[in-house]
Symmetry: C2
């Protein structure tokens, strides 16, 4: 069983990494980019009896800093 | 128009960050985790006339290091 977790900075939290990417794209001539947010994607390879609740616990305890980051979980078969 | 880009290390490329997460999860008692790969997710806010070809060009030139990383693009309306 696999799970994919996205961890993004919450709206309103400054994202200097995304801002740097946006600036670099503009400098390279990509002028159709209005905004960039960068986050993490974590692909988990899980035992077959793992549940979404397990992954939620991992996010709350380790994968995301819930003060400034939000996460979303996709379970994949 | 929005686009989401995933950038992951290619299979076979050592992922020390993912390995560190796997180890930390194990140490915290999450014993159902067999493997972890960590990558980047980049959310782009684009002008309405931007195309997937534009995003592909951004990936090739800046967002991914195609020697060791693979990328995938999802255009979102």
């Amino acid at each position: 069983m696999k799970a994919r977790v996205h961890v993004m900075l919450k709206n309103g939290v400054l994202d200097p990494q995304g801002e740097a990417v946006r600036h670099a794209l503009g400098a390279m001539g990509f002028d159709k980019v209005d905004g960039v947010r960068q986050g993490k994607v974590i692909d988990l390879d899980l035992a077959d009896d793992a549940t979404e609740a397990d992954v939620t616990a991992m996010c709350e305890k380790l994968l995301a800093n819930t003060v400034i980051e939000s996460y979303s979980i996709e379970m994949q078969g």
